[in-house]
Structures are given as C-alpha cells and as structure tokens.
C-alpha cells in the first residue's frame, strides 16, 4: 500500500488529486471513486469482449437474486449493452421458498429490474417442483446447498428457455470462482473442475456467461456502495451448512496473507483444462432416461434428486 496521503487521511488516487476509496491489490493502485468505477466497468467490458461472451441478436437471461453480485451484473450489462442495438436482456429471479430470507431479496431484485428497465420474471420451486425448498429440506438441512443448487439451476434454465433466452448470465465473481475450483479439488471432482459452462451447446444447455468472473468480491461491493446501491440483506439461513462457507473463510484468509492466491487458482484451472482438452477424461453428454434432459449419466441430477426425496 503506501501512497501520498490526501488531507482527508486517505492516500490520493493514482490518476488524480482526489482521495482514494480503494486500494487494488492486483494492480497495486489507489483509486478515487470516479477512476475506480471506470476501471471496473472497463474490465467487465474487456472480459466480455475477450471471451466473446455476447453475440449479435443474443437475448440474455440475467440470474437476479437481488444480492450484490447479480445487482452489479445487471447494472453493468445494461450499461454495456447500450452499445448493442440487437441484444436484449431480461431478469429471472428464483423463489426457492426460504422463509424469512427470499422475500426481502425478491423485493430488492424487483426494484433493480425496474430501475434498469428490464422485464423481470419470478419462478418458484413451488410452481415448478410442487414444494418449497424449506419443505424439501425438512430433516435433511445439511444437504441444503446441493438440493438448492440442482433445483435452482433447473429453474433458471426453464425460465430462460421459456422466455426465449440464447444465453444465461450469472453474477459469479472472482472469489466465487476460486472457491469453486478449491471445492471441486476438495471433492475430487476433476470433471466439474474443468467443465466449461460457456461452451456453446445450444441444442442441450443454454451457454452460461460470467461477466464478473475476474472482479474480486470486494470490488463489486465497493462498486455498488459508491453507486448507492449496496443493500444490507439477510443471509441465507442454510449457509451454515455449506462447504462453501468454510472454503470462503479459508481462501480469503490465504488471499489476505498471500495476495494473488485466487488468481493463481484460476490459472491452475485453465492449465488443467488444457491438459485434459480432448482427452478421454471428459464425459460425453447423454439424455436422461426419465425426463430427456441432457446429462452426463443415465439419469439427470433433478430426477435423481426427486427419487431421493421420495417423490
């Protein structure tokens, strides 16, 4: 850190005389609010363009939980797509049915969608699967994130297809992505580690894009705070059962003591992916023998879950 101090007590911005609002460890720069906002917006645009995430005539379903990452994603995509006349956006919110939690985030999601001026669809587990997540999880709370993840992915995919999406955008940030790499290593799930959800398999899955995947979580929160859109929302009551919570704490501790840890994890994933490209290690896609959805085995995760839930 360091840097020349502004009279306010904060180091000055590296680009102008204004006081900084953030120190970026990865660039070793202090930035004021104006230059920081510009920096985040430009890095997101570069990420989208370098990875060809958006194509002409795309209709993008934005997964909008109402939390900070999806809120930032919608704001940034809407801003970027002002340049694309033939690309449209809409927002999808999944109501899992989590008492005392989801109502507040759904309200926040509705307000963001209205502010940005996009269509907003809400799809519930109750409507799609016949019950709320709370009901599905009675007596099996420790499986919450696995059950929710499988059903939420299916619900998002259904809502996206139903409304004509060609792509699904999610708000995963750098921290989320690095956590996923480490979680897949800890589970010994090499296939999931290297799977590319952005691969164009439009006859099976809708391609997924993650425009915030190179932006650290702290920068996303800072971006929203400066924009006056950072909300204090309740935490999911099932978070305490998640492996991700432990991995998140461990990884942020490592990143703090050894800056660059998360970026190096992402580099490792890319390297492993290159070694495995075209090898027999990658699973071919099949069709689920029960519902016909694409899957890697005989039966898809949703149908397997329905069976295990006794439905």
């Amino acid at each position: 850190m360091g840097g020349k101090k502004h009279p306010s007590g904060s180091p000055s911005c590296c680009c102008c005389p204004e006081p900084s609002v953030i120190y970026q460890q990865h660039s070793h720069r202090h930035l004021c609010s104006t230059h920081f906002i510009h920096d985040v917006e430009e890095r997101v645009v570069q990420g989208i363009e370098n990875n060809a995430m958006i194509r002409p005539k795309d209709r993008i379903a934005v997964a909008l939980s109402g939390g900070k990452d999806s809120t930032a994603l919608l704001l940034l995509l809407a801003r970027h797509l002002q340049r694309w006349q033939d690309v449209s956006l809409f927002a999808v919110t999944i109501d899992e049915g989590i008492s005392g939690y989801r109502d507040k985030t759904i309200k926040a999601a509705g307000q963001v969608a209205e502010k940005v001026g996009v269509e907003h669809y809400i799809i519930s587990f109750q409507d799609l699967f016949g019950d709320s997540l709370d009901t599905f999880l009675k007596g099996r709370e420790e499986q919450a994130c696995t059950v929710c993840g499988i059903l939420r992915k299916k619900a998002l995919s259904e809502a996206a297809k139903e409304n004509g999406a060609t792509r699904i955008a999610t708000g995963h940030n750098l921290d989320d992505e690095a956590q996923s790499v480490l979680m897949n290593v800890l589970r010994g799930d090499l296939m999931r580690l290297v799977r590319d959800s952005a691969a164009d398999t439009s006859d099976c899955f809708l391609p997924r894009i993650k425009p915030l995947a190179e932006i650290p979580e702290k920068e996303i929160a800072s971006y929203l705070f400066i924009k006056g859109m950072f909300l204090l929302l309740p935490e999911c009551p099932y978070t305490r059962f998640a492996l991700r919570g432990d991995v998140r704490s461990m990884l942020s501790g490592l990143e703090h003591r050894n800056p660059g840890t998360m970026l190096r994890l992402m580099e490792s994933k890319k390297t492993i992916g290159k070694y495995l490209a075209g090898s027999s290690g990658s699973d071919p896609l099949h069709r689920c023998r029960q519902c016909g959805d694409p899957c890697s085995g005989d039966t898809c995760q949703v149908c397997r879950l329905h069976q295990s839930l006794g439905r």
């Binding site: 007590g9 904060s10 180091p11 609010s33 939690y101 950072f230 099932y238 998140r248 703090h256």
Partner: protein, 64 residues
Amino acid sequence: MKIILPDQGIVVIDQSPASVEQILSDLGINPLEVIISRNGTLVPEDTIVEADDEIRIIRISHGG
C-alpha cells in the same frame, strides 16, 4: 472514535489517529471480507482516521 460493527454493534476506541488496517486487525476482521466507510464515504484500509470519525464496517459476503 465510534466503530459500527458488521452486526450493528458499536464499540468506541480511544486510540487516534489510527489506521483502518490496525483497527480491523485488532478486531480480528479480514479486510477482504468487509468494506469500510468513514462518515459515509468509502475508504481504503491504509486510511488514517481521527477521534471524531464514525467508522462503519460492512460485511460483504452473503450466501444465496
């Protein structure tokens, strides 16, 4: 100096001036898991804060 904690609890510390970094370290908080505002404005951790400042520590990680 008044410090508003992530759980909305309030602590008052006598030490001033002090760096935000030192305050977080004393509280056992990882700077990567929070953002800090001083009198409503976002500040980096190497900011020096004074006795009459109000510091808010906002936790950024939420599941879901």
